[in-house]
Symmetry: C2
Subunit: 199 residues, 2 copies
Amino acid sequence: MPHPAEPPPRGDARAEQRRRTEARILAAASDQFVEAGYERTTIRAIAQAAGVDAGLVMHYFGSKLALFEQVTKGGQLPPAPTGPPGQVAEQILAQLAGSLTTEPVRSLAMLRSMLTHPETTQAFREGTQRFRAQLAAAIPAPDADTRAALISALIMGVVMDRHLLKSGGLDTADPDQIIALLRPVLRTLTTADPPPDPA
Amino acid sequence: MPHPAEPPPRGDARAEQRRRTEARILAAASDQFVEAGYERTTIRAIAQAAGVDAGLVMHYFGSKLALFEQVTKGGQLPPAPTGPPGQVAEQILAQLAGSLTTEPVRSLAMLRSMLTHPETTQAFREGTQRFRAQLAAAIPAPDADTRAALISALIMGVVMDRHLLKSGGLDTADPDQIIALLRPVLRTLTTADPPPDPA
DNA sequence: TTGTTCAATCAACGGGTGTTGAACGGAGGG
DNA sequence: CCCTCCGTTCAACACCCGTTGATTGAACAA
């Protein structure tokens, strides 16, 4: 191989055309996986939505599973909930508020497909485990792990209810109202309990 | 038709054999739907697990979808959370405690399959809507609907995390510990907030 | 006994799937 | 100009699916 001067050698119409086509396929695949899940999404449907032939999808991405992994790679789950103990709840709430208005596409695709496609489960678990570990580290309580797991489950349930289940009751609710109701809940879960209740 | 003395005319070996076979198919189908979801569950696999031919499954239940509906029918979602406002939280906790130890098979089958199979979505929505409506009626607050929806999402997330996702962090946790952590959360959500916090 | 009913099996069809390999056609380099 | 590369298409393969119809054989009725 003679020294390749520039990796993207400016003005290569073919390379750029390919990049665009790949991006179009990737976007179409993302939509389909989110809307229909892994099993019901067909490579032919992706190809049609991208305006190409099904064989081309295979030629570029190798297999349906590889394409799926490419789609779900990169974005992953919400960022790190690090910070002083008192601020953890607010950070989670801010993150959740974003997920209520904007669909977290990759998370939804992984979540939905994970429930159907076993090969995906491992990747999803690793993502949530990292999230929970960081979260648990920020909670000053002996049962921090369980608290973090509950918060993770709570977030998962809420996002699923709003974006996947739909008409589950949360899709029409005001995000601010949801956040306001969840604030005391998250404060309770992220801080050790005072006296339970002197009733 | 000559008056049929008894509908189950005692000692009909064929009828009882059929009932047993149907029950076996139903149980096998339930397992498969929960473990693999609707799409990945094949009639052939159900038949094999039940020790019969695939055609027999069709002959008894008509179609795969009809079989699935039969499996998910009946048990539905947790019973009514009615009662005095103060007791609602404890009732939910008791119900949830049961769902943590024993798998709510039908709910899981519906939940998992709903995420893949659109025809199932409606049935699941109706189930959760009834649950939420009854729950909202027991919550003395102006935003009772949103509160009920959040509780529903919370339960869904927890049950999913424990039984479907597995190793999501809640599968190894002690049920009593989970319930204890959730108690203040549900009390907060089922009762109108006192002063937010005078810090 | 004879005839009927019905649980259960078997082989097959039609369709949809992921995947493959050959073929086309225009852009790039000699 | 020709030759090669490469994005792209096309037709087909092999497989598995849900579903069906004919068929078998044992339990019931007469």
